[in-house]
């Protein structure tokens, strides 16, 4: 990523692509489900930390800074890893740009130290048939037939 482009991307805040995407974190492991595509994901360790921070409207720069401090790694390495995972989360349509101007959740209280493992997204597509063959046309509060807009690729 070019320097200027990365700077802009790093200052951007995101949010979970709701209502198409839902997630829960349990004991440091995060499961993310894309209801529109039938794909689900898992993030562990640093991946779950990054997800929680991004879901709370942290910028990539803030996330990278916290990873570098928490695990004692070079800032450049943290930025590279965060840029990669953010790009993947965006490409999978799990997060979208947010209008938030500041973080909506406090940084996770994670103890410093531990072995650093770059954040990674595990992708599971083995249940897509359930969604693609028997799709659900769920409605908004306004009521059917004002169907929710379909996510791209749904």
């Amino acid at each position: 990523m070019e320097g200027r482009e990365r700077t802009e991307e790093f200052g951007m805040r995101h949010e979970v692509n709701s209502p198409h995407v839902i997630s829960e974190t349990i004991q440091g492991e995060c499961i993310v489900i894309n209801l529109s595509t039938g794909t689900y994901y898992s993030l562990q360790g640093t991946g779950a930390e990054v997800w929680e921070a991004l879901a709370g409207a942290a910028t990539a720069a803030e996330v990278a800074g916290e990873l570098a401090q928490r695990y004692g790694i070079e800032a450049a390495a943290a930025e590279q890893d965060v840029a990669a995972i953010v790009a993947e989360l965006v490409s999978q349509e799990l997060i979208v740009p947010s209008a938030a101007t500041e973080r909506v959740a406090a940084p996770a209280a994670v103890a410093p130290g531990g072995e650093y493992v770059p954040p990674a997204l595990s992708v599971y597509t083995d249940m897509q048939d359930l969604v693609l063959l028997d799709p659900v046309h769920e409605v908004t509060d306004a009521g059917w037939p004002e169907a929710k807009p379909q996510a791209a690729g749904a």
Binding site: I26, G28, I31, S42, P135, V136, G143
Partner: protein
Amino acid sequence: MTIPAEHADAQTPRFADPDLLAEGFDEALAAGEECERWLAVAGRVVRLRSASPEMLSRLTRAFAHLVRQPSDRADLTISLWDSVAAPESAPDLPDIGGGHQPGAFFYHSDERVRAGFQLGTSGDARVLAVYPGEVTPYVSALDGDAGQAWHWVADASCIPYWEEATPLCYLLDWWLARTGVRQLHAGAVGTTSGGVLLVGKSGSGKSTSTLACLDSDLLFAGDDFVGVGVEPEPYVHSLYASGKVMPDHVQRLPFLLPALSNADALASEKAVVYVHEQWPRAVTEGFPLKALLAPRVIPGLSESQVIEISRGQGLAALAPSTVFQMHTQAGPSLAAMTRLVERTPCYELQLGSDIGSIPRAISELLDHLEET
């Protein structure tokens, strides 16, 4: 059905309007034969009334273990009908246009009702190959505050076998959620003092593991879907006393063969067993939940065994298949499953070639958990 204009509601589509559905059911009653059955579901009283004894019989076969004597009050009354005898009783389905999958599900919710309709059979090519051109639209609607629900099918004689095995699952899911009980895609076996959930996607060995326990002292609470309450302690509520397994897997459970309800249809259907009809004392209405097991076939392994896995792995085995099967209000459902898994130890059930070792491994785990 004639729909007076004053019934039009800006918030509730006509197919989901409780007043219109009640009118439709009354019209079906006028042309049919009123009958009813009372059930105890997750500790509550459910009354099923129908305009068709045949429809009532088909949609309550899997609930035989929950049947109770009539009561003076019901927590939920479900009205069941088809419109073969009274075409005017059919709900006013909206024009949805063409190009939809046969299994497309149209869902609506507002402050008063949760409702959905499906065009017909699943869009799965394997299903369509067996049911070519068969379209059996249905509507389910729940007015939770009123304790009323309606379930209409165009022709009750066309209810597919899988619906008969796990009937009314959307309605029950919506209603149970109001009571703090979640319908989960899981099997459940155990003893009166505690049991396990067997979770995972179709093909993971969940049903084979669950039904293998029928040849043991373990009690059966469900195969495809069960109700699970989290508070005050995790507890499994049996819903359907039916089991379904892939035809090629039933050969590994030879004791099931004489008990199958559709032994002559295995070329095109999953093997179905109504457990309560064959082993009435093996069916339980529920038990405290002690553990969550994710089955996995281990090639070369003889004796089944359990190993502890993380809560995240347990949630990953449970949640996606439940969310994608039950479709609606997935966020609260996922949150409830997370709270459940936080309180329930998780294990991988490594399946060996000795089918009899499956219930032994589960029993040993339950004994171990009882001691600790």
